[in-house]
């Protein structure tokens, strides 16, 4: 079985990092969002919107960096619909998220037909972000992990920074503490004079930005065009990563790496046919892994107490 073990090489780690990047970005966004008390299952849709607008902007401006910005801004704006619905209008978080996911499919297909004249896949952009791949001097020379972590494309690096930034944000900053309090005991936060509404808007915005960035990664860094369905459930896997990561930035990242690894592995199983099982079977592998990991790990960590719960002050009680 030399063939079987031959797939465990440096490339597998590189692929793991690449495949986990969009999940990591969205998962860290989910962490911040849920720590503030808002469930965001709309990340899948936000990712689609981000991916699409990244391509559109890059296509018309010819500049993939502007495309990246376009994807992030579009994701952020789209996420605000979720914020308005759940925070201002007290809509159930899951209902709002489900609606936004469906809305994103419709909006994107509609705009594709208008802009490109057909659904499916857009015309390729002139230059993708993959061309800006760069190796960090010295660090990229570290054996095994060097190429995987330090010889990557821009958004992959951004995803590392995102993890570190929100790790510090949640642990060390005043705003981070307020976000955490908003998701555990919102009234406690409100009664000492910090606006729960503001914290929750901020948190949804964060998830919009990171999910938009995740979308941009899929369309203009990992690819040069947008294809309908290209997010392929990663927004949902990111939710699972956040949960199995115990609602922490670092945990979300590690869980995302695991899902990326599962994905990288299944691709290799398919291509190299190392096991005598139909290749199609392996496609379900990352999803089965998701179910198993969530079922196995979730019980050990506790969700924020007020996650998914509405917050309203003026109540009729005494």
């Amino acid at each position: 079985m030399g063939g079987f073990f031959s797939i465990f090489n440096e490339d597998l780690l590189v692929a793991t990092i690449r495949l986990s990047t969009p999940i990591t970005l969205a998962a860290v966004g989910a962490t911040v969002c849920e720590r503030a008390g808002i469930v965001n299952i709309a990340m899948e849709g936000i990712m689609i919107i981000g991916a699409f607008f990244a391509v559109v902007v890059a296509y018309y401006t010819g500049n993939p960096w502007l495309g990246l910005l376009g994807g992030v801004v579009a994701g952020a704006l789209f996420s605000m619909i979720h914020a308005v619905a759940t925070i201002t209008f007290h809509l159930d978080h899951v209902v709002s998220g489900a609606v936004l996911n469906i809305l994103s499919f419709g909006v994107v297909r509609y705009l594709m037909v208008i802009i490109y004249g057909h659904p499916g896949t857009t015309e390729p952009i002139a230059k993708g972000l993959a061309e800006y791949k760069f190796a960090v001097p010295l660090l990229s020379k570290i054996p095994v992990i060097g190429p995987a972590f330090f010889n990557q494309t821009p958004i992959v690096y951004l995803s590392f920074l995102t993890v570190i930034f929100f790790l510090i944000f949640l642990k060390k900053t005043k705003t981070g503490l307020h976000v955490r309090a908003a998701g555990e005991h919102p009234l406690a936060l409100e009664t000492i004079g910090v606006s729960v509404v503001k914290m929750r808007y901020l948190a949804v915005l964060v998830s919009g930005i990171t999910s938009g960035l995740a979308g941009a990664y899929l369309s203009i860094e990992n690819s040069v065009s947008f294809t309908e369905g290209m997010s392929n459930g990663r927004g949902f896997i990111a939710l699972a990563a956040n949960i199995s990561g115990g609602w922490t930035a670092i945990g979300s990242w590690l869980a995302s790496l695991f899902f990326g690894f599962a994905d990288a592995l299944q691709i290799r199983f398919q291509i190299f046919k190392v096991l005598p099982i139909p290749a199609e079977f392996f496609i379900i592998f990352p999803y089965v892994a998701t179910v198993l990991v969530v079922a196995g790990l979730v019980r050990r960590s506790r969700p924020p107490k007020a996650v998914g719960m509405d917050f309203m002050i003026e109540r009729e009680e005494d």
């Binding site: 060390k172 900053t173 005043k174 705003t175 503490l177 307020h178 955490r180 309090a181 555990e184 005991h185 009234l187 406690a188 936060l189 409100e190 009664t191 000492i192 004079g193 910090v194 506790r302 924020p304 107490k305 002050i313 003026e314 009729e316 009680e317 005494d318």
Partner: protein
């Protein structure tokens, strides 16, 4: 005697009115608070005390009226402004984030540190400084969820002091405390007063008013119905003002000889708690028909495990439960209830009732799938309805109708619904846990009389209560539960609350 010059006037409300869609919660309220005094606001649930305090604290906006702080008219549109002007509030349901540490909770919203970064070291020191100044020692690094309720309350008070509160509002501060913790709290409150903080205590407990406050306003149905110096008023007068009629403070219990054989016997049972630790150790209890056996004890000494074991919600490690001549420890909860065992659970909102369901549905819950409440697979809605109408009448449940949901009722009326259901099924054995928790004098009076009525009907009753007064006024025998063991049996007429308290806190019997 403290002087009452106008320069000592700290806070004054002028004709505060607060109208909610359905109720007038505050009707023209005028009260005054002086510097360095402890003021009580006494009233039944729904009298408008909390509403008034929430207005002061900037959580609600008054419909009309104003208040003056140190002679200056102020209006707070958010708690933030109230806090800035020196108001601090300890809510009945603590406003603490359980997963955060003591320090984090205290500094929340006022964190020291440059830019957006929290200076945890300085925060910790500041917390230690105030906790020393007011003698409120606490571990600043402990997580809230690991602290007892009494300690959590300390954190709440520190939270207010950290924000330099001049006026501290305590909403039902003793509702969740053990007698010992209450004493400690009172010491803290007196210390605060002596250091110049004015304290407002919102309560419906008469003892509390007498024990701690200098002055009291009595509220009823949103109005101030009286103001008294606490030293010059009796409990009886306070109760009458609060309820608006003559109230019986202690129910009259007929003394009687109980000779019958026990109908319900717990024999040497041991039970583990949710963490797998032994919560009850080799306990035996006999209850005879027509007898009320009271279990006294500080919360967390095995009370909930005992009631769960009796109702079949928790399995026994050892021992038996005998009902009549039958071993029932292997029977399901449902089978036990079928045999005319009834239970009033300690937490009516979580276990006693299904709040979003109608009163009718709650009243037949558990017996709803048996005649006369159902026929085949159908509920007999007419029977249930007329049965409910009767119970609501018999048990004096104040409700606009039997079709409203249980959640819309006040606490006292919710408990009456539970009582109506459990007492009307003709129970031979009745487990009653914490029947008057959080209720006001009028409701307590009623519920106590109903429990005694069941005693007269020859039910065997096991009463578990954290309120010593309740244990004393209802029980024929008192068993003291301490760390999962019955450490003492006492007769109420032959003992004192001091003695029971001694055993409750671990003093061993000298025999």
């Amino acid at each position: 005697m403290r002087s009452r010059k106008s320069k000592d006037l700290l806070l004054e409300t002028k004709n505060i009115v607060k109208r909610f869609p359905k109720v007038l919660a505050n009707d023209n309220i005028n009260i005054k608070l002086f510097k360095g005094e402890i003021l009580s606001l006494l009233g039944e649930n729904g009298a408008g005390k909390s509403t008034l305090m929430n207005i002061l604290y900037g959580l609600y906006k008054p419909t009309s009226g104003t208040f003056l702080l140190e002679g200056e008219e102020v209006e707070f549109s958010s708690p933030k402004e109230a806090i800035r002007r020196g108001l601090g509030m300890v809510h009945q349901h603590f406003m603490l984030v359980e997963t955060l540490t003591v320090t984090e909770n205290i500094i929340l919203g006022n964190e020291p540190g440059k830019a957006d970064f929290i200076d945890y070291k300085r925060a910790r020191e500041e917390v230690l400084v105030i906790s020393e100044r007011y003698n409120l020692s606490i571990d600043p690094d402990a997580k809230i969820e690991t602290l007892s309720v009494g300690l959590q309350q300390k954190v709440e008070i520190l939270k207010a002091l950290y924000r330099k509160a001049k006026i501290l509002i305590l909403d039902e501060p003793t509702a969740v405390l053990t007698p010992h913790e209450v004493e400690k709290l009172f010491t803290v409150i007196r210390k605060l007063r002596d250091s110049g903080v004015s304290v407002i205590i919102i309560t419906h407990k008469l003892e509390e008013v007498k024990a701690i406050s200098d002055r009291v306003y009595i509220l009823r149905r949103g109005e101030v119905v009286g103001e008294r110096k606490t030293s010059k008023v009796t409990k009886k007068e306070l109760a009458n003002l609060m309820v608006g009629r003559d109230v019986v403070l202690t129910v009259h219990k007929e003394k009687k000889e109980i000779t019958a054989e026990p109908i319900f016997s717990i024999k040497n049972i041991s039970v583990k708690d949710a963490q797998g630790l032994m919560a009850l150790k080799d306990i035996s209890i006999d209850v005879r028909p027509g007898e009320i056996v009271g279990i006294a004890g500080v919360d967390g000494n095995g009370q909930s495990e005992l009631s769960e074991a009796i109702m079949g919600l928790r399995s026994l490690e050892e021992g038996n439960i005998l009902y009549g001549n039958e071993d029932i420890e292997h029977l399901s909860t449902r089978e036990r209830r079928r045999r005319k065992i009834s239970s009033v659970s300690a937490d009516r909102q979580r276990y006693g009732l299904i709040l979003p369901m109608q009163i009718t549905e709650n009243l037949v819950l558990g017996d709803h799938d048996e005649p006369p409440f159902s026929k085949g697979i159908n509920l007999s809605l007419d029977t249930i309805h007329s049965y409910s109408e009767k119970l609501v009448e018999d048990f004096d449940v104040r409700t606009p109708g039997v079709d409203v949901t249980a959640g819309t009722l006040s606490g006292g009326n919710q408990q009456k619904v539970v009582l109506a259901r459990e007492f009307s099924r003709d129970p031979k054995f009745l487990l009653v846990s914490q029947p008057t928790r959080g209720l006001d004098v009028g409701a307590i009076e009623y519920i106590h009389s109903q429990i005694l009525k069941m005693r007269d009907k020859n039910s065997a009753i096991l009463l578990i209560s954290l309120e010593l007064e309740e244990i004393f006024s209802l029980s024929d025998r008192i068993l003291v539960l301490y760390e999962g063991e019955i450490v003492k049996e006492l007769i109420p007429e032959e003992t004192t609350d001091k003695e029971v308290g001694f055993f409750m806190t671990g003093g061993k019997a000298k025999e």
